[in-house]
C-alpha cells in the first residue's frame, strides 16, 4: 500500500550542506538524502571558489520526502530566500508514492 507524498529536490553548492540540512530539520522533515553532484547552470558568471580540477562533484543534491507538502514548500522558500541570491542552486518538487508513510510523518 502506498500513499502520495512530496519529494523536494535541492541542487546547490557543497558549502551549504550544513546550513541547508539545518533548515530541513527545523522545518520538521523526518530525513533527507544527499548525493554528490556536478553540473552546470546559470552561475557560469560566478565561481563556487572550490577546487575545479580535483573535485568533479562540487555540488550536492538533497532530496527530502515529506508527507506534508507545506513542509516541502517551507524548506524550498527558506533555502531560496536565504541563499539563492548569492549561491547557485535550484529546487523542484515531484509527487511520489511512498511505502510505510509513517517514516515521513512528523511524530508527536
Amino acid at each position: 500500500m502506498t500513499t502520495k507524498a512530496t519529494r523536494l529536490v535541492i541542487v546547490t553548492e557543497k558549502i551549504l550542506h550544513k546550513e541547508i540540512t539545518r533548515i530541513i530539520d527545523a522545518a520538521g522533515a523526518t530525513g533527507y538524502t544527499v548525493t554528490a553532484a556536478g553540473g552546470k547552470g546559470s552561475r557560469n558568471v560566478r565561481s563556487s571558489g572550490q577546487p575545479l580540477v580535483a573535485d568533479s562533484y562540487p555540488n550536492i543534491k538533497i532530496e527530502v520526502i515529506t508527507a506534508d507538502p507545506a513542509v516541502a514548500k517551507q524548506i524550498a522558500d527558506d533555502v531560496a530566500a536565504r541563499y539563492f541570491d548569492n549561491f547557485s542552486g535550484i529546487t523542484w518538487l515531484d509527487e511520489i508514492e511512498v511505502h510505510r508513510l509513517h517514516k515521513f510523518q512528523r511524530q508527536g
Binding site: V45, R46, S47
Partner: protein, 355 residues
C-alpha cells in the same frame, strides 16, 4: 667617487644578473616546474586527473609536516624570540588587507565587497607556497628557525577576520540603499565564529594538530620516516594541481575587471617586500634568521588557496568568488612562486650577505 659609483653600478648589474640567474634556476626547481607543467597540461586539454581524495590527503600531509616540525622545535627558549615576528605577522596580514581596501576596492568597476574579499585572500597565507619556499631554502642551504613556518596562522587569521569585518562595515553603510537584507540584519560582526571557523578548517586544523603533537609528544620517528621524506614529492603533485587550477580559473578572471589581474600581479611582490622590511627589523632586533625573513616575505606574498576561499564565501556571501579566487589562483600564486620566492631569496643574499 666616480670609481665608487662605477663599482656600485657594477655590483648592481651583478646583483641583477644573479637575480635573473636565480629566476631561471627557480623555473627549473621542481615546485615551479610542476606548477608550470600543470598549467601547460590544462592549456593543452589533458585529461590527467589528480583525484580529490588524493588532493585532500596531500594537503593534510603537507601541513601536518610543517606543523610537526615547528612544534618539535619550539621550546620555551624560543617563545621570546618568536614574539616580534609573530607581532609582525599579524601586522603584515592586516596591512595587506587595509592596503587592498584603500586601493583595489576603490577602483572603478570593482565592487567594494569583491575588492575587500580579494584583499583578504591576499593577506591570508598559502600553505603550499610556503612549503615550496621551505624546500628551496633547504636546497640553498639558507637556515631558518623551525618555528618560522608556524607564523602562518598569525598572518592568516587576522587578515581574513579584518577583511570580513571591513566587508560588513562596507555593506552596512550601503545597506539602506541596496537592501542587502541578510548582512544588514546581523549588525555587530561577531569575531569568534570567524576565528573558530578558520581554525576548524582542514588546513589550519592539520597545521595546529601537527604543532601540538610536535610540541607535546615525541613524533620524531614518524616525522623522519614518513612526513619529512614524502614532503617534497607530495608538494610536487600539489603544485601540479595548482597549475591546472590556475589555468582553469583564467577564464573566470577574464570576466571580471582587469584591475584584479593588475592587483594580483603586483600585490604579491609589494606585500612580500613590506614583510621583508619588517622581517629585517626583526633580524636586527632579535636576530630573526635571514631564512625566516624570506619565509615571512613569502607568506605575505602568497594568497590563501585552501582555507581562505570557503571562509570568505561563507562570511561575505555577496562577494563574487570569480573575482577573488580567480585573481589569487590564476595570477597571484604563480607570481608569488615564480617571481616572489627567487626575488626574496636574492634580496636576502644581497642584504644579509653570506649567511
Amino acid at each position: 667617487m666616480v670609481d665608487d659609483l662605477v663599482t656600485t653600478r657594477g655590483d648592481d648589474v651583478e646583483a641583477i644578473l644573479e637575480f635573473l640567474t636565480r629566476l631561471v634556476a627557480q623555473f627549473q626547481s621542481p615546485a615551479l616546474a610542476f606548477l608550470l607543467g600543470g598549467m601547460l597540461l590544462a592549456a593543452l586539454g589533458s585529461r590527467l586527473e589528480i583525484p580529490d581524495a588524493i588532493y585532500k590527503f596531500l594537503v593534510f600531509m603537507l601541513l601536518m609536516r610543517i606543523g610537526l616540525k615547528g612544534g618539535m622545535q619550539i621550546s620555551e627558549a624560543n617563545l621570546g624570540e618568536m614574539l616580534l615576528p609573530m607581532l609582525f605577522a599579524v601586522l603584515i596580514g592586516c596591512s595587506i588587507v587595509l592596503l587592498g581596501r584603500i586601493t583595489l576596492a576603490r577602483l572603478p568597476g570593482v565592487r567594494g565587497e569583491d575588492g575587500i574579499a580579494t584583499a583578504g585572500l591576499f593577506g591570508a597565507v598559502s600553505g603550499s607556497t610556503l612549503a615550496a619556499a621551505m624546500v628551496l631554502l633547504e636546497v640553498e642551504g639558507m637556515e631558518y628557525e623551525a618555528w618560522a613556518p608556524a607564523l602562518y596562522p598569525f598572518m592568516d587569521i587576522p587578515a581574513l577576520i579584518l577583511a570580513i569585518v571591513l566587508a560588513n562595515l562596507y555593506l552596512q553603510r550601503r545597506a539602506p540603499a541596496t537592501g542587502t537584507r541578510l548582512l544588514a540584519e546581523r549588525q555587530p560582526v561577531r569575531l569568534w565564529p570567524i576565528v573558530k571557523d578558520s581554525l576548524q578548517g582542514s588546513a589550519l586544523s592539520a597545521l595546529l594538530l601537527g604543532l601540538a603533537l610536535g610540541l607535546l609528544t615525541e613524533p620524531a620517528s614518524v616525522y623522519e620516516d614518513f612526513y619529512d621524506p614524502l614532503f617534497r614529492g607530495f608538494l610536487s603533485v600539489l603544485m601540479l594541481v595548482m597549475g591546472m587550477e590556475a589555468y582553469a580559473r583564467l577564464e573566470e578572471l577574464r570576466r571580471v575587471a582587469h584591475w584584479y589581474a593588475l592587483y594580483a600581479a603586483v600585490g604579491p611582490l609589494l606585500h612580500g617586500l613590506l614583510a621583508f622590511a619588517l622581517g629585517t627589523i626583526a633580524h636586527l632586533v632579535t636576530g630573526f634568521s635571514p631564512g625566516g625573513v624570506v619565509l615571512l616575505a613569502v607568506m605575505a606574498a602568497s594568497s590563501s588557496d585552501i582555507s581562505g576561499p570557503p571562509t570568505l564565501r561563507a562570511a561575505i556571501p555577496t562577494a563574487n568568488p570569480s573575482a577573488y579566487v580567480g585573481a589569487s589562483t590564476s595570477v597571484g600564486t604563480p607570481v608569488a612562486i615564480a617571481i616572489g620566492i627567487p626575488l626574496f631569496l636574492g634580496l636576502a643574499e644581497a642584504v644579509f650577505g653570506q649567511f
